[in-house]
C-alpha cells in the first residue's frame, strides 16, 4: 500500500478513543452466526440503475425490504449508484444500501464525501461495493488514460486507504457546541487525512463530520476481485458472493452452501476476507420479483444460510458482523498543529 498517513512516525502511536475491539467478531457485533460459529452473510438484491427503473424504484425497494432482504446493492446502469442509494434511504427503514461504484476514475475526495454523506442520510446503513473500472471507455470521460491491471489494483488500494483516512478525520465528539468557550467544534479532535499516493493526494480533513458508522463497510464482489486486486480485497471488510437469480432457487442455495463450507475449510484465512454478503443479480423486473425474492429469502433463512432480517436502527457494520470502527487519533496529523507550534515557539 502506497498511501502514507504520515511522514514522521515518532511520538505518533495511533490512539483509539474507545476500548472497542478492532478485530472482526460476529459475537462482539451481535450478528447471527450458525452452529459452527460462522457469521452468516446478509442477503442482498442487486438493482441495476437504469432509467427504466425510475418508475418502480420506490415501490420495488420497499417491497424487497418487506420481503426480508437485508441489503440492496446498486449497480451502475446509467443513473449514479450513490444518488440512487441515497434516494432510497428515506424510503426504507432497515436495509443496507451499498452502491457498487468505481474507485479509479473519480476524485477520491468527492467519492469519500459522497459515501459518508450516504451514511449520514441513511443513519448508518451505507456500505461501499468497491469496483475498479476496467472499461476503456471510462478514463477518457475524465481525461485520463486506461491504467494497466497492476496500476488499477494499486490505485484501488490507495483510494480505499485514502477514503478511510477522510472518514476517520473527525472524532465522534468533535462537534462540541461549547457555548461557554464559543466553540462550535474542537479542532484538536480533527485530523488531516494527508493521504499521499502515487497518482493523487488528499489533504482533508473531511468537509463532513464523522458519519454514524465512522468507517463504512467496504466489500468486494467476487466478480470484481480480479480488477480490484489483492491488496484492496485484503484491505476490504469482506467479500460478496454473486449469484444469478436466473439460475433458479436451487442453484442459489447450493452456491451459498458451497461458499459457506469453503469458508469452513479455511479459505477465509490469509488475505481472503470473510463472506459478508450474498448478492442476487439478474432480478427480472417483468416477472414477479418480489414474490420470487420473498420465497427465496424465506427458504435460505429457514436453512440457516443467511443472516436474520435486519432490524431498524442497527447499523450495517453490525448487520454484517463487523466490529465497530472507533476513531483512531494520530497526534502528528492533528488539525490544530499550527496553533500548538506557534504556542511552543512563542
Amino acid at each position: 500500500m502506497t498511501v502514507a498517513a504520515t511522514t514522521e512516525k515518532e511520538n505518533s502511536a495511533p490512539v483509539t478513543t474507545t476500548d472497542a475491539p478492532t478485530t472482526d467478531s460476529a459475537a462482539a457485533a451481535g450478528a447471527a452466526s450458525d452452529a459452527q460459529g460462522r457469521t452468516l452473510p446478509v442477503l442482498a438484491v442487486d438493482l441495476v440503475t437504469t432509467p427504466e427503473l425510475l418508475g418502480s424504484l420506490a415501490e420495488l425497494a420497499r417491497g424487497l425490504e418487506d420481503a426480508g432482504v437485508g441489503a440492496l446493492t446498486l449497480s451502475d446502469g446509467g443513473l449514479h449508484p450513490i444518488h440512487v442509494a441515497s434516494h432510497l434511504a428515506p424510503l426504507t427503514r432497515s436495509v443496507g444500501l451499498l452502491p457498487r461504484t468505481d474507485a479509479i476514475y473519480v476524485e477520491p475526495f468527492h467519492l469519500a464525501t459522497q459515501l459518508m454523506s450516504l451514511d449520514h442520510i441513511s443513519h448508518g446503513r451505507a456500505g461501499w461495493l468497491l469496483l475498479a473500472e476496467t472499461d476503456p471507455a471510462v478514463p477518457p470521460t475524465v481525461g485520463r488514460e486506461l491504467l494497466s491491471l497492476e496500476q488499477t489494483a494499486r490505485e484501488a488500494a490507495d483510494v480505499l486507504a485514502a477514503a478511510r483516512l477522510v472518514w476517520d478525520s473527525w472524532a465522534d465528539d468533535a462537534v462540541v457546541r461549547d457555548t461557554e468557550k464559543g466553540l462550535y467544534f474542537d479542532a484538536s479532535r480533527l485530523q488531516y487525512a494527508d493521504a499521499r499516493a502515487e497518482t493523487f493526494s488528499v489533504r482533508g480533513p473531511a468537509i463532513t463530520p464523522r458519519s454514524p458508522q465512522g468507517l463504512l463497510p467496504v466489500l468486494v464482489a467476487d466478480t470484481d476481485r480480479e480488477a480490484v486486486g489483492e491488496a484492496a480485497t485484503a484491505a476490504a471488510d469482506g467479500r460478496v458472493l454473486d449469484v444469478d437469480l436466473a439460475a433458479g432457487a436451487d442453484a442459489v442455495r447450493s452456491a451459498l452452501e458451497t461458499a459457506l463450507s469453503g469458508a469452513e475449510d479455511g479459505q477465509a484465512g490469509e488475505g481472503q476476507p470473510a463472506l459478508r454478503l450474498v448478492r442476487l443479480t439478474g432480478l427480472d423486473l417483468d416477472a414477479d420479483p418480489l414474490g420470487t425474492v420473498q420465497a427465496l429469502a424465506a427458504d435460505l433463512r429457514a436453512a440457516g444460510l443467511i443472516a436474520p432480517v435486519p432490524s431498524a436502527g442497527v447499523d450495517l457494520r453490525t448487520q454484517l458482523g463487523l466490529a465497530p470502527a472507533p476513531h483512531v487519533a494520530d497526534p502528528v496529523r492533528r488539525s490544530d498543529r499550527a496553533r500548538l507550534t506557534s504556542k511552543e515557539s512563542a
Binding site: 425510475l54 476524485e107 477518457p140 481525461g143 457546541r177 464559543g182 463532513t208 490544530d336
Partner: protein, 458 residues
Amino acid sequence: MTAGHWPLPTAPELSEEARALATGTAEHPIHPEHTPTGQLAFGVFFQGVNSSTIWRLPESGDQVAWESFESLIRTAERGKFAAFFLGEGLRLREHRGVPFELDVAGRPDAQTLLSALAAVTSKIGLVATQNTTFNDPVDLARRLQTLDLLSGGRAGWNIVTTDNAWTGENFRRGGYLDHADRYTHAEAFVQVAEQFWRGEKISHDGAHYTVRAEGTLPRSAQGRPTLFQAGASPAGQDFAARTSDVIFSPHASLSAAVDFRRSIVERTVAAGRDAGAVKILPGAEIVLAETEQEADEKVRWVRDLQIGPEQAIALLEQYWGRDLSEFDPEGPLPDVPPEVEESGVTRGAGFQYAKAEELTRTWREEAKEKGQNILEFARVKSGARRGEFTGSYDAVADRLAEYAALGAIDGLNITPWLIPSGLDDIVDHLIPRLQERGVYPEDYAGDTLRENLGLPPL
C-alpha cells in the same frame, strides 16, 4: 433620469427611494428592454458552513442530521418555495492555519443529500452548488441528470468557480487553474455538460484536459437541470448572461438590486438573449416580528448571537494576521500593528495584506471616533443591524412588493439564521401577506423547477 410614463398606477405605494431609482416607463421602469413580471419566487439557502446560522440556542438543531434538512424542506414546500439550495465548500475553512472552530462547519455532499430529499418532496426545486474547477464535467453532469431524473425535473446547479490552490490540495489536479481563467474553464465545462444532457457524443479538447464521452441518459421533465450562477465579478456576470437561467446575486439592497438588474439586462441582450432570460435571486436574511419595534429588538438579539466575543476577535485576527486573543472584546481595538507577511487562505477572505497597515489604522480611528469596543465594532462591520428585509410582517411585505413592481429582483434566496425552524415565521406570516398583495404564487405553477421559476420551456 428619464421621467417617461413613470410613476406607475400603483405609485402611491412606492417609496421615494423606489421612484428615484426608476429610470424608464411604467412598463419598463429599469431598462427599456425589461418588463417586470411583478412576481417573486423564494428559495431557501441552507449554507451549512457559515457564520450567520446561530448554533448556540437550544432550538438550534443538528446542522448535518437528516431530520434538520427534512424538516426545513417540508416547511419550504409548505410555503411554496421554488427551490431548496445547498452551498458547497471543498475544504474546511481555516483561520490562522487551524480549522475555524467558532462557526457552523461540516456539511453533507449536496447532491447525495438532494437525491434523498427528492424522495420526501414533490414540487420544490433541489439546487446543488457545485464547483467547475474541482469536478470532472461528465461525472458532474451525470450526477445532476440523475438528480433531475430522480426528482422528476426539479434539479438545479448553482455554478461556482472557486479556484485556489489551497482547495486544490484535496484534488488530483491540485491548484491547476489561474483565477483569470476560471470562467473560460467554467464555460467549456458547462458546454460539455450540456452535450452530455442532450445525449450527444462529446469530443472536447480543452486547455487543461480532453474529454471523450457520450450522454446516455434520457432528458428529464424539464429538459436539463436549471442553471444558476453565483459569482459577482463582471466576468461572472457575462458568464451568467450567456449561459445561466438564474443568478444567485449578493445584491439585496434596492439600489444595488436595480443597478445589478440593469447590468444583467444589458449583458443578456448583448449576448443575444431575451432581456428577462436570466432571473435574479439575491441572497437575503429575513428577520420578522409583529411590530417594527419588536423587529428592531429581534435584530439586535440575532446579531448578538451571531457575533460573540470570540467571533469578534477572530474577525479582527483575519485582518491583523496575528493572535489577538489577549485583547478584551469589551476594550478598544488592538493598538498593535498587523503582521503583513503572513498570508494564506483564512475563511475564504481575499484580504490584501499590503493594505493591512492602512486598514487597521483606519479601523482603530473609526472605532475610537464612534466610541465602539471590539465587540460593537465587529457587529457593525459584519452587517448592518437592520437588513433590507427586517421589520414588521406588513412592512417587509410592502417592501418586497415594491421590489417586484420595479422588477429589481425575481425573488430571494433566503438564508435562515436558525436551523431548522428559521422559515416558520416567513411561511406563516410573510407569505400570506405577499399572496394578498398578488406578488407571490398561491400554489406551484407546475412540477418542474423551470416552471416554478417562471422560466420558459427549453
